[in-house]
Symmetry: none
Amino acid sequence: MGATPSRSARVAILSVGSEVVTGRVADTNAKWAGAELTRLGYAVVLHLAVDDDAGAIRDALGLAMDRADVVWMTGGLGPTRDDVTVEAVAGALGLGVGEDAATVARIRAAWAKRDQPAPAMAFRMARVPEGSVAFDNPAGTAPGIWIETRGRSVVILPGVPAEMMAIAEASVLPRLGDRVPGPKSCVYRILGVPEGEVDQRVRDLWDGAPAEVRIALEISAGEVLLRVLAPAAWPGLGALDAAIRQRLGEAIYTTEDETLEAHLIRRMKAAGLTVALAESLTGGLVAGRLTSVPGASSVVKAGWVAYSDAAKTRLLGVDRAILSGAGAVSREAAAAMARRAREAAGTDFGVATTGWAGPGGGTPEDPVGTAYFGVAWNGGEAVERRWFRGGRRQVREYAVTFALDLLRRRLTGVSG
Amino acid sequence: MGATPSRSARVAILSVGSEVVTGRVADTNAKWAGAELTRLGYAVVLHLAVDDDAGAIRDALGLAMDRADVVWMTGGLGPTRDDVTVEAVAGALGLGVGEDAATVARIRAAWAKRDQPAPAMAFRMARVPEGSVAFDNPAGTAPGIWIETRGRSVVILPGVPAEMMAIAEASVLPRLGDRVPGPKSCVYRILGVPEGEVDQRVRDLWDGAPAEVRIALEISAGEVLLRVLAPAAWPGLGALDAAIRQRLGEAIYTTEDETLEAHLIRRMKAAGLTVALAESLTGGLVAGRLTSVPGASSVVKAGWVAYSDAAKTRLLGVDRAILSGAGAVSREAAAAMARRAREAAGTDFGVATTGWAGPGGGTPEDPVGTAYFGVAWNGGEAVERRWFRGGRRQVREYAVTFALDLLRRRLTGVSG
């Protein structure tokens, strides 16, 4: 076995702030730190979030220090009386509270520019526990704080995401990165195979791998992501990678860290291919996802939200007989919509969605959750039918991914 | 003071999943639960997140039960060997593991529909700790689990957000709501006034209010939500409500707990009004948001994703001279797009977006982030210009909200 992250590289992330515990915001700071620290090779063992309350902060810091070697804290460094993190941490660690001279000077200078004396409250942001190292904040006032104590490292950063990230990137992550040998990370993005089946196909591959090799499966609206994180020097990574590719084959659409829509736009742009969309079920969301990618305009030429029968016939030009015969949710309608979108826009591909998102609608043969997807190209067309579980939002979300995947599979047939 | 939530109503939220601790996703489940439980009157004292690891789960459950009366867990209820939450919780509480008969029957029935025998792995999702109550999962397979033990309530829900929310809303929140004297909650949804200004206008109103009266401002893609949570018996609520309405006036578009798109669809449906969309900047997302509302089909008749100049002229019928003269990102283009969408679809309103989402594009007069919005109605049209800060995603998100708000303001002029 090669160099593996030592057992000492455990991190706990502790967020302080009532906006987090009461659910007014998602804890995106913790997400960001978790991703960055994992990338560096740390094992993030615990996330904690507590209110701006000195007792709760002390309690949580104690838990975090029991379970990890590095405690990554954010929040409660501002100037108001609600901001009690410095006092709480200093109290928990038996340290006094001093002022960081560089921060005091910066606060004075900032107020001098406004030709006003700095109010006493402003200097609250210069407070640091005694014996700590203060890092410059390139995006704000309160400094980052690093404390070495009792064999642990405690890092405290402001809760404002831009400030937290600026200090972390400039000062904290480089120092933490120097302490561990960086691991290698691979991601396999998989479409068309459910999570459970992906698991079954590949699970035995790492039965003999060392514990430091971490594998995770995650699902996101019809996609499965398989991630492997291994110590840089682990010799088994090449063989594991080859085996995963062999077992999953074409279901792996990319091993780049790119979204499905970015993947499609990149490939189509490179091949000079264009697409038009005709959306009923998905109401514009397929176009919305594709056009979220910068530069999508050279690929996505046009789209119709053909939500009503009149829009399908009068605007898109679908034969009225199809809608009155097979119905708007049918194989025939999906094919005609894809064909007409392609013809009208003069694109290489046409992609269409129609279905029952619910809660109303549906038929005995095509209950709520049923969707038909059409794709048309020069000289051909295809339709696929799927049933998705869940409420309206989930059905539509899965349908968007499925429509993009249908285009991807067709693309592979044509341009791959 | 009236009835306030008793000290016993403390909740800890515990999320299980490697995707959370390693920062691949933000813990939006915890955010959602924090907001719902706060709304019910519970004090959320702690958030925790740990890996899919039985030891870590047991440890975290212990911490949570030490500090709270209700532990709200999510994640690790799936069919794979990574999903160890049930065994870990049962182990920690000294309970055996059984199978929920209703879930077993549902799994059998689901596989029978596919004419396949259910694999043994599928039944892992029927596992529940002995003595627990299982709640039906309207959006998936794994049931919700409720355990009463050692004076604590432990709730376990699937990690898939749609399933978690479906079970919570149907079964868990109503039961938890019955246990506490519910506070009164008001929400004011505000458009067109920035958060800082909302804060300034109303901040002094609750200076004298008791601590149990909680006020929160939150922002979400161009909307500001002002929430007030007060003990049911607090006598000042009526006066506070009147003062808030007086200070914010028409900027409050609703005090119902409904999204902007649901608000629009409800009002337009009631008035028998219809709309068509012509989207360039927003690439289908305005239509996507409106059609997320059940029953939107009687209001949203058609949409064009007119991303290219050719789509704007050939498909939507915008005069080519406008695009070659004023340009595709202009007052004139936005007006013509809105007008043509309305005419072509035969609707009461036409709404259009065009702009520079970035990172490329922009002109000295109209830099990246600039957007023009058009609205056309029977006998008139209007255009508004806005500049939004942030990256491509944020500019588009704000633009969608602004377009919906433009329609709302027009609607108030016409049908209000």
